[in-house]
Point group: C2
Chain length 216, copies 2
Amino acid sequence: MGRIKLPNTPSIRRMSTYLPPLIRMRESGAEFASTTTLADCMKFDPLIVRKDVALTGVSGQRGVGYRTSELIDAIRRYLGWQAPCPACLVGAGSLGSALLGYEALAEYGIRIRAVFDADPAKTGTTVRGFRVSGTANMADEVRKLRPELAILCVPSGSAQAVADVLIGAGVRAFWNFANVTLKTPDDVLVQPEAIAGGFALLSVKLHHGGCTPKPW
Amino acid sequence: MGRIKLPNTPSIRRMSTYLPPLIRMRESGAEFASTTTLADCMKFDPLIVRKDVALTGVSGQRGVGYRTSELIDAIRRYLGWQAPCPACLVGAGSLGSALLGYEALAEYGIRIRAVFDADPAKTGTTVRGFRVSGTANMADEVRKLRPELAILCVPSGSAQAVADVLIGAGVRAFWNFANVTLKTPDDVLVQPEAIAGGFALLSVKLHHGGCTPKPW
DNA sequence: TAGATTGTTAATCGATTAACAATC
DNA sequence: TAGATTGTTAATCGATTAACAATC
């Protein structure tokens, strides 16, 4: 097994999309998976899949492919998804609820340890099996739980205030679904999730025709 | 005003994120917006914003910036968001509901003309102000409405079947939130929306430290 | 052996970064 | 004029594509 090579934004994005088909392959009993078959079910160029897979450092068998389980593990390791990542989610509206119900979150290693919502009517209720807490003593609870990650599903208008509280309570990484750029100290990681971006790509393809930029 | 230059995947993704701050600037009465101030509130390198803005062909005033409204229009035109895009949404679960409630959809030009859901219990109900129809005669309704776009928020397991029906009914563009790669004819556009990709970037930054791939 | 696939190295292409002139 | 910013052209860097050897 070769050395893990380091990132490369488009590769990382693509890499995460290889897992669902690979897991399906393993479930259907395929011991080996080749980059050609994987490329085929992703509709990617096989070359690009081969290069991506090479980044993880996994080694395969020429003429056969990679052991499906080994490949899955290698990708998970590359993405840092092998160890559980304790997280909290703020904002139990429809987006928050959709994420909580998204079984794949667990596959990414995300373990939701607390769910908060500012709406007092929601406090104490259960969303997708998770108990919702109010935001009043969010800081204290977070200080106790020490989540590695906070998932922000709050309205854009309150995102900064919520982030400030969480940063004060020690959170150092955010997955931000609100449509604002957060002002944060340098040691805080923020991953903005702009769903509009995907639609923008589609829209450009639709309107300017001819040219076809790639999805990553 | 220069000529519109054509795409470039990372630019398109970033471009769509410039609109919210620009709209806020206009709302707060700023007649001009410069690429430096825009870069500032996006936390992007000013050079990258300048290059992106140049792609739209808009022209500014040296020493001052761009007329906020003109810049907004130029970006919308570049992304194909100036004309309304009639769309239907399939799958009124929590993710579908989140999208229907996302006011920004209208800003992107998306006009939801119909919402479908396979669950008979949902037929006839209203989600975020949209009446939900059953999927039984989806094909007929879609043939009448002729949407340019279908937004798929159905479970991965049913995505292909739903897409097949819609393609049969004439739909040629999909925004696919299901975690499967759709098999479609060559003249059909599919934009996969893999939210895992964003988390993968964050996760790699968290675990492999040091290196910091960019969000786009 | 023939076919398929991995693994590695080089070539090309495109995106980002840098430098600088022009002008409000 | 000085400061800020646009606009344009060149340099660098990184990602994708291509070519080919190695081997199951």
